[in-house]
Assembly symmetry: C2
Homo-oligomer: 100 residues x 2
């Protein structure tokens, strides 16, 4: 997390590989690509994004994120949202309130 | 405005020159520089920002933004915030809910 405003947080995420399928029941999630290529997979489609492109994942919609090569992503979402949503994943669930 | 999430909006702003002094009584404002150089002036200091740098302006704090050459800025703030805050400026006050 790099900034907090109005109960929301801006997070920097470095991604490579595939994230677990999950959903956030009560939070929309905005991803904006800073560097590299990134994709968001839904059960019925895949959205490919490059630098400067963004996507909003509405609350409750199942998805997973992925990148073949390392990419840098900005994420805006409410404070306290668990990165793996409804899933508790030993490898991927990250602590909240870690400020850099 | 390019995206709306959780009652907040992501806006793209092209800036050049000086904006009027103003404050937002009830909204924090986050600016992240996408391209160019940008500064945020407070009554007691000036903060210079380049690409990838961000600033959070807490609610109620008077400020103005400025750029010598055109710069591209991302702004994240609650939906419905007036860009000139407590000031109604014939030249600079922009309409809300304009989606691009």
């Amino acid at each position: 997390m790099v900034a907090a405003v109005n109960g929301q947080e801006l997070k920097i995420i470095k991604v490579q590989g595939e994230f677990p399928w999950h959903r956030h029941e009560a939070a929309d999630e905005l991803f904006l690509v800073w560097k590299g290529n990134f994709r968001v997979e839904f059960r019925d489609q895949i959205v490919n994004l490059g630098p400067g492109e963004l996507i909003v994942i509405p609350a409750g919609v199942e998805h997973r994120t992925a990148a073949d090569d390392e990419a840098e992503i900005l994420c805006f979402e409410p404070a306290g949202v668990r990165n793996t949503g409804n899933v508790d994943d030993a490898q991927f669930t990250a602590p909240n309130n870690v400020r850099i």
